[in-house]
Every structure is written in C-alpha cells, then in structure tokens.
C-alpha cells in the first residue's frame, strides 16, 4: 500500500516536472522570440551582416531625441510631484484623519476603472485652455501622468506605511521636539525608503511607456514618436523601442531585487508587483 502510494506520487512528480518544463519552454518561445527579434531587427545590415547602424543613427533624428528628453523629464517631474503629493497626505491621513483613509484609497484607485482614453477625453478641453492661457509645453502632460500613476504608487506607499508604526514613530519624534517637516523628512521617509523607491521606479516605467494621453493631446513623447518614426524608418524605431523596454525591465526588476536584499519580510509587503489587486496598463 505504502509502496504503491509512493510510486503514484513519484509518477505524479515526474508528470508535474514535464508539465512545468513544457509550459516554461512554450512561454520562453512566446515571450523571448519577439524580444530577440527586436534586437535582431535593429542590428541588421544591408547584406545580412550585423551592424549597429540603426542604433548610432538614432542621434540623427532630432525629433526622436527631443521626444526621449521630454519623456525622461516627464518621468522625473511626475515621480517627484507624485511623491510630494502622496506621501505627506497618506502619512497625515494615517495620523490625523483615519476616517478619510477609505476615501483617499477610493480616489487613488479610481484611475484604474477610468480608462486612459476616457480620462483624456475629459482632459482635452482642459489642455486646450491650459495651452492657450498657461503653457503648451509638453511637460504639462505631467499633470495628467500624476493621476495615471496614482493607483500603483498608492499601493506601493500604502504597503510601506503599513509595515511601520507611523503613529508611534511620529509621536516619539514630536515629543522630542521635531517639527512636522523633520518628522516627514528624517523619520518617515527613511523608514519607507523601499516603498518610495518602488513607487518612483513604477511611475518612471509607466510614464516612459505612456502613449494614449500624449497621442490624443497631440504631444510627441517617446512612444508617440516611436509610432511616427516607425512608419518612416522601422529599424531606428525598433532600436529605440528595445532600448526603452530594456530600461523599463531594469527598473522594474530593480524593484524586486533592491527591495529583496534589504529586509526580506518588508520587501514582500512592499513589492506591489503581483500583490493585492493588480491591473495592467500596457494596452
């Protein structure tokens, strides 16, 4: 009986291993071939040799360079604005206005149920007004981007704040004579540095990959310019695309690994990839 049981378990384990290997192999084929193809395509020469010509000629497309610079600037502005807006508010709500926490959560997660294309429909008249009365710089897109990254950053920071005792820490600091600014900057922020890094990397990745809002509002950011250039010179466009995808990959893998190295238990809570309700924004 026991022997039979063990042999059943062994065949099951072998079956499971076969299943896993097959699934991982198929997934690798489906997911890695397109990525490899981008690298292959962007290093193609005229006579079939390998060349970096497409990569080096990126600099000859001033529109593309401008778009890359704009997207990087937008990523930085969005991240900073998001942190300045979100971190103090969330700490304050935890300390002083716990009755508001549900509302803040609801508002922050709202952009998940409002598709970007719908949000931009409402933003369109506002940006026309903004363009004629304030500024028509592409950097004004940051206003909309802060909203787009809100749900992801809220979750990251919420997990970080949940892992520390905000109340005790700030009360201790206050009773020692620290101002609120000191409490924020020297007590709270260092304690949730993982969560902040997390939120920042996520927003950088999201902003660099954003297309919908910029395209409808007729601003040329990285992704819009990619599509535009792709119709004229696919090689250069794919070179930039693969570079941006690799950059996002490094950023987001960084979240998992930088967090993991410091404090295991906290990083599990802080890494918001795959934790809690998730939502995609690739499309």
């Amino acid at each position: 009986m026991a022997v039979a049981m063990r042999s059943v378990q062994r065949t099951r384990r072998i079956k499971l291993q076969v299943f896993r290997i097959v699934v991982f192999a198929l997934a690798a084929v489906f997911f890695l071939i397109p990525l490899a193809a981008m690298v292959e395509f962007s290093t193609r020469g005229i006579n079939g040799e390998r060349t970096l010509e497409y990569w080096t000629s990126i600099v000859q497309y001033p529109d593309m360079i401008k778009a890359i610079i704009a997207s990087v600037q937008l990523a930085l502005i969005t991240s900073v604005a998001m942190l300045v807006l979100l971190v103090p508010t969330m700490v304050w709500v935890r300390l002083k206005l716990p009755q508001l926490s549900r509302i803040v959560e609801f508002v922050c997660l709202l952009p998940l149920t409002i598709p970007a294309i719908v949000l931009v429909t409402g933003l369109f008249p506002m940006y026309i007004w903004l363009g004629t009365n304030v500024s028509d710089s592409i950097l004004t897109l940051a206003f909309a981007y802060v909203v787009l990254v809100l749900p992801y950053c809220y979750r990251a920071i919420d997990a970080g704040l949940g892992a520390i005792d905000v109340k005790t820490l700030s009360e201790a600091a206050r009773s020692l004579g620290a101002s609120w600014l000191t409490v924020m900057w020297r007590v709270i922020v260092p304690n949730i540095s993982n969560a902040i890094l997390n939120a920042t990397l996520l927003s950088v990745a999201l902003v660099l990959g954003e297309y919908t809002v910029a395209n409808v509002l007729l601003y040329s950011n990285l992704q819009v310019e990619l599509v535009h250039l792709g119709r004229a010179n696919a090689g250069v466009s794919i070179a930039v695309a693969v570079a941006s995808l690799m950059f996002a990959f490094v950023l987001l893998v960084g979240i998992a690994f930088v967090g993991g190295r410091r404090r295991r238990t906290q990083s599990e809570a802080v890494t918001n990839l795959g934790k809690g309700p998730v939502q995609g924004s690739a499309g």
């Binding site: 397109p34 508002v107 598709p115 970007a116 369109f124 395209n215 941006s244 990839l273």
Partner: protein, 300 residues
C-alpha cells in the same frame, strides 16, 4: 483589557477640549491632495459625464447618445467586446497554466522572481513597444516570417493579418498572459498542499482533486481574473493604434477619432458619449470582479 482600553478613553475625553480649531487645521493637510485630484481626476470625469449631454454650440442635447446607434459605433462595440473576450479567455487560460507552473516551484526561487518581474514589465509597460516586438519578429520583414517562408510556410499568403484584428489579439496576449500571472498567483498560493493529501487519503485521484476541491475554489478567482483581463483589453488603445492606422475598429480609437478628427469633423460631445458607454461597460465588469474577489477571499 483595561490597559488597552485606556488610550481610547483618553482620546475620546481629549478631543472635545481641543475643539473645532484643531479639526479644521487637520483638514488643511489633505487640501493639496484633494485639490489636485479634484482638478485632474474628478473634473475631467465630470467634463465627460456632463459634456456628453451638450452639442458643439453648448446647448443641451441627447443626440450624442442617439449617435451611439450609428452603425460604425455599434460595429466597434461588438468588435471591441469580441476582441476583449477572446484575449481575456486566451490570456486567462495560458496565464493560469504559466502561473501553475510557477507556483509548483520554489516560492523564493530565482525563476519565480524573474517571471513575476518580467510579467510586471510586460503587463504595465507601453503597448507600442510590444506591437513593435511583433512587427520585428512575425512581421513581413521579421526573421520568424522569413524563416517560415524559406521553409515553404507562408503564413501571410492570405494577407498580412498582423495588422488586422487577429494580429492585435495576438499582441494583446503578450500583455494579457503576464497580467493573468500577476492576478492569479496569489489565488494559487492560497491552495494548500494538505488539501491534496486529504483528497488522496480519502481515496480521491487527480481528477477528483481538480474537479471537486481545487477547481471550485479557484473558479471564482479565475472568472474574476477573466473580467479584469476583459476590462484591460477593452480600454486598451496604444497597441491597436500602433498596428492599425486605417479605420478605427475599436471603441478607444473611435473616441480618439471623434475628439480630434484630422478632417475637421471633430465631435467632442459624441466622443464623450462613447467614453460614457465605455466606462459603463468597464464599471459593470469591474464591479463583478470585485464581488467575485470578495467571494474568493472567503477560501483563500
């Protein structure tokens, strides 16, 4: 008990003494946040909701909603729904398999971390790049196509379907499967190995286990994930716009076209009405998802 109760009593006594002044100062702290989301999140939403009832001259009308019955909008609704359904079911099926393959491995292993991180990138990074990845691989100049063609298999013999809806669906899977992995992993993590052992000690086999134990427990969260994936496809715009630039087969493209038509036939009110249609569908789907999620939480 008494010790734990003391602070609560103390604050309850303390609060009235400090009175309304402190109360109002506390609220100042959240003003910037609410002002910001008020202007850049709630106002645009209100602009859509209210603007859908006005025509270009600014007078009240229901025409924008009546126009939703235009044949091309109706067709786009059907197309978008079908595209979303197919990619949601396909993504959920393959994503669940991949998630199961991950979950049966080492929970702290390198492989799991790598797949989860990669899924995060693919589910959340730009759809344009993903479209390009497919153009570079299976497109008419991609090496997969050139290889297949030189071996006598010309999969574009009946037209380049990559730039049609079937191509869009394939590229959607590229972010739907990773999203499914992210959504479904926590549910699979909740399945306890003891349940399997219990089934066996009661004489059940693998089929019994999946049919009567794991299946029914995972089913609500699977359907919930399908709904989430559906909403994700339904609101997508970047990928389809990068692949198809002739006509506007999906709703999000219809909205974009109505906002700023290049031929000067912009219909902002109409764009908002389509946006409302979209938001109603996505909201219904999201509510169903939330309800199912709550039901799942009972077991996992």
């Amino acid at each position: 008990m008494t010790v734990a109760g003391t602070p609560a009593v103390a604050t309850r006594v303390g609060r009235p003494l400090l009175g309304g002044r402190r109360f109002s100062l506390d609220w100042v702290g959240v003003l910037p946040f609410f002002a910001y989301v008020g202007i850049f999140l709630l106002l645009p939403t209100a602009v859509v909701g209210i603007g859908a009832f006005f025509n270009a001259d600014g007078s009240f009308t229901l025409d924008n909603y009546a126009h939703l019955s235009r044949s091309y909008v109706f067709k786009a609704t059907i197309t978008t729904t079908l595209l979303s359904l197919v990619t949601a079911l396909g993504g959920a099926f393959f994503g669940a398999l991949l998630a199961y393959a991950i979950v049966t491995g080492n929970p702290h292993g390198m492989l799991r971390r790598l797949v989860v991180s990669a899924s995060g990138v693919l589910a959340q990074f730009g759809g344009v790049t993903l479209a390009f990845a497919f153009i570079a691989s299976i497109g008419s100049a991609g090496f997969v196509y050139l290889f297949a063609q030189s071996h006598g298999f010309d999969y574009y013999a009946h037209g380049i379907w990559l730039f049609e809806l079937s191509g869009v669906a394939l590229v959607y899977l590229y972010f739907q499967i990773p999203l499914m992995v992210l959504v479904f992993l926590p549910a699979l993590d909740g399945i306890k190995p003891q349940w399997r052992e219990a089934t066996e000690s009661l004489g059940g086999n693998t089929w019994h286990y999946w049919r009567y134990i794991a299946g029914p427990i995972l089913f609500p969260s699977f359907i919930g994930a399908v709904l989430l994936l559906f909403a994700n496809s339904f609101s997508a715009y970047a990928t389809v716009n990068a692949l198809i630039n002739q006509g506007s087969p999906v709703l999000s493209q219809q909205i974009a076209a109505a906002i700023s038509s290049e031929v000067g036939a912009a219909e902002p009110g109409f764009a908002k009405a389509i946006a409302i249609e979209m938001i109603v569908i996505v909201t219904v789907v999201t509510i169903l998802y939330t309800l199912l999620q709550r039901r799942t939480a009972r077991w996992l």
